[in-house]
């Protein structure tokens, strides 16, 4: 069952800026989706629209089958949100602040649950501390505790680990792992590709208000399994000799470099074959290097491709 469904979502801000240009997205129950994108890509706008903080210009969003505008009560009851900005009332103490959120969502008091959440986030000792006296990382933990306090079925984490210490990142991943075990659907945005690789089931790339790629992480990683063999030639070639054509080879750097792409998982890499052919064609090789493309490369090339004038 799709837990979150986004259809043709557009958002034009008051100034006329179009931050979302028709986003379609479907997230299954229990799935963990990582949304990668540079600053200004529209990640926060997308999350804010799903959560009710931004009004959609057109399109539809459903959470748990409930329209987030028409049936906002049912939809929002399912959603926990950890916002990108650290928004906390400075004078409020930690435990009352978390209790407040639970109450706001209409849930009956459950002090044992709140204690458990605060303990897991290493906040229990700080429960009577005013939030203004907490460090940045601790404040973010409070935001996470608030979002978890009402036992959401869908959790949005908007750049939860941007600029936080290693410890919090580790704790966060542990919590995500545990929530995954309970079937919670999680959508997180991040700049960090390792983060997406570490915890997501599926990875989406968003830029300029459009989703450019949405793919199963494993499949994406198998794409990453592709390697490049770069052969630097003694003298540059204007064109490939006939014997080397139709094999997916490419010439780069004005013909000085021959690029052969191959799959590490395949039985044959084709390298020995290529080398033999080069020798028989009388092409001298100066140097050889290999290079594995990363998610980052895919990401950067997609974003670059999109930014080229059409």
């Amino acid at each position: 069952m799709a837990m979150v469904e986004v259809e043709g979502l557009r958002k034009v801000y008051d100034g006329g800026f179009e931050a979302l240009k028709g986003v379609d997205l479907s997230i299954e129950k229990g799935e963990i989706l990582a949304l990668l994108g540079p600053n200004g890509a529209g990640k926060t706008t997308l999350i804010s629209t799903i959560c009710g903080l931004v009004q959609p210009t057109s399109g539809a969003v459903r959470v748990g089958g409930h329209d987030v505008v028409r049936d906002y009560r049912a939809a929002r009851s399912l959603i926990g949100l950890v916002p990108q900005e650290i928004n906390l009332e400075p004078f409020s103490k930690v435990l009352p602040a978390v209790r407040f959120t639970r109450g706001l969502f209409g849930k009956p008091r459950n002090e044992a649950l709140l204690e458990d959440i605060l303990r897991r986030l290493s906040l229990w000792d700080k429960r009577d501390t005013q939030t203004r006296a907490l460090s940045g990382g601790m404040k973010r933990r409070v935001l996470i505790a608030k979002a978890l306090s009402h036992e959401p079925e869908v959790l949005f984490l908007d750049e939860p680990t941007a600029g936080v210490d290693v410890e919090l990142r580790r704790d966060m991943w542990a919590i995500v792992e545990e929530l995954r075990g309970r079937g919670t659907t999680i959508i997180l945005t991040t700049h960090y590709i390792e983060e997406a690789e570490a915890i997501a089931d599926r990875v989406g790339v968003i830029n300029g208000g459009r989703i450019l790629l949405l793919e199963d992480k494993k499949r994406l990683l198998s794409r990453l399994g592709r390697k490049e063999l770069r052969v630097e030639l003694d003298t540059s070639l204007a064109t490939l000799p006939p014997a080397l054509q139709n094999r997916g080879l490419a010439l780069e750097d004005g013909g000085r470099v021959l690029v052969h792409t191959y799959d590490t998982a395949a039985d044959r890499s084709g390298i020995a074959h290529l080398m033999a052919d080069l020798r028989s064609e009388g092409i001298a090789v100066r140097d050889v290097s290999t290079r594995q493309s990363t998610l980052e490369d895919i990401f950067v090339s997609m974003v670059a491709k999109q930014e080229e004038p059409a």
Binding site: L53, I79, L81, N87, G103, K107
Partner: protein, 253 residues
């Protein structure tokens, strides 16, 4: 209806009030005492009676209204402006609570606070003069309605305000003159005829007049009109807030 959600907002706001309880208590006691010293003793010794009531007693209803109205506005406007300022407004906006529930929570708390302050002022006044309340139920009703309606107005102000200056300037420039010119310290009948007519456009006149009627059984304007005015005022404020939430003006991008 998300009753727990309303309670969460109300309780949270009241906690803030109790944190500064002493401060909330002392300042109206001192200012009321000062008013009695200045208006009651100094001026009151020259104005013997207004329409058969001693001047010291005559100003009590106006004094209570003055504080209750300004407290309601500042409490409610701050209560909603502060979450906008700190960004914590994202919580009620993304929670399963309706606009009405948000308003009930915030405005209810603000009105409770000013009701409390109204009671403190009445108690302080009772130390200075012999108090008589002819229609206690009507007195309480007027007091509660005033707290609610001006907390609604304050809520609108807090939603509208873009910075702290605006938050403070509006009550100072608009509301305080309306209250002072609303007959807090005099009877409308004491004014020149032209001003008597102009004054009738001031909504505060109807409140103070009705409130004073509850105390002494005398009023500048008919009591029914006072009730109608406050009901209309409350209705308009609610409608404005409803439209604000409907359109997301200044709260939802």
């Amino acid at each position: 209806m998300n009753l727990r959600g309303i309670w969460a907002i109300y309780h949270y706001e009241m906690t803030r009030f109790f944190r500064t309880l002493l401060q909330s208590f002392i300042s109206p006691v001192i200012s009321t005492s000062l008013y009695f010293v200045v208006f009651g003793a100094a001026i009151g010794s020259r104005i013997q009676e207004v329409e058969g009531v001693s001047y010291g007693a005559f100003i009590v209803p106006g004094l209570v209204m003055l504080s209750v109205i300004s407290q309601s506005i500042s409490n409610a406007s701050f209560a909603i402006y502060f979450p906008k300022f700190t960004g914590t407004i994202y919580e009620p906006l993304s929670a399963p609570v309706s606009f009405l529930e948000i308003v009930i929570g915030f405005v209810g708390a603000a009105a409770t606070k000013s009701l409390f302050i109204g009671a403190v002022i009445l108690a302080t006044a009772a130390l200075f003069i012999d108090m008589q309340v002819m229609h206690p139920a009507a007195m309480l009703a007027f007091l509660v309605l005033t707290c609610i309606s001006f907390s609604l107005l304050g809520f609108i102000l807090g939603l509208w305000a873009g910075n702290f200056e605006q938050l403070q300037l509006v009550p100072l420039l608009i509301v305080t003159p309306l209250i002072f010119l609303g007959g807090s310290f005099y009877s409308i009948s004491m004014l020149p005829p032209l001003w008597q007519t102009i004054t009738l456009f001031n909504p505060v006149v109807y409140l103070i007049s009705g409130f004073r009627w509850a105390f002494f059984g005398m009023a500048d304007v008919p009591i029914g009109l006072s009730l109608l005015a406050i009901a209309a005022f409350t209705g308009i404020c609610l409608a404005v807030i409803w439209i604000i939430f409907r359109t997301g003006w200044r709260i939802r991008a």
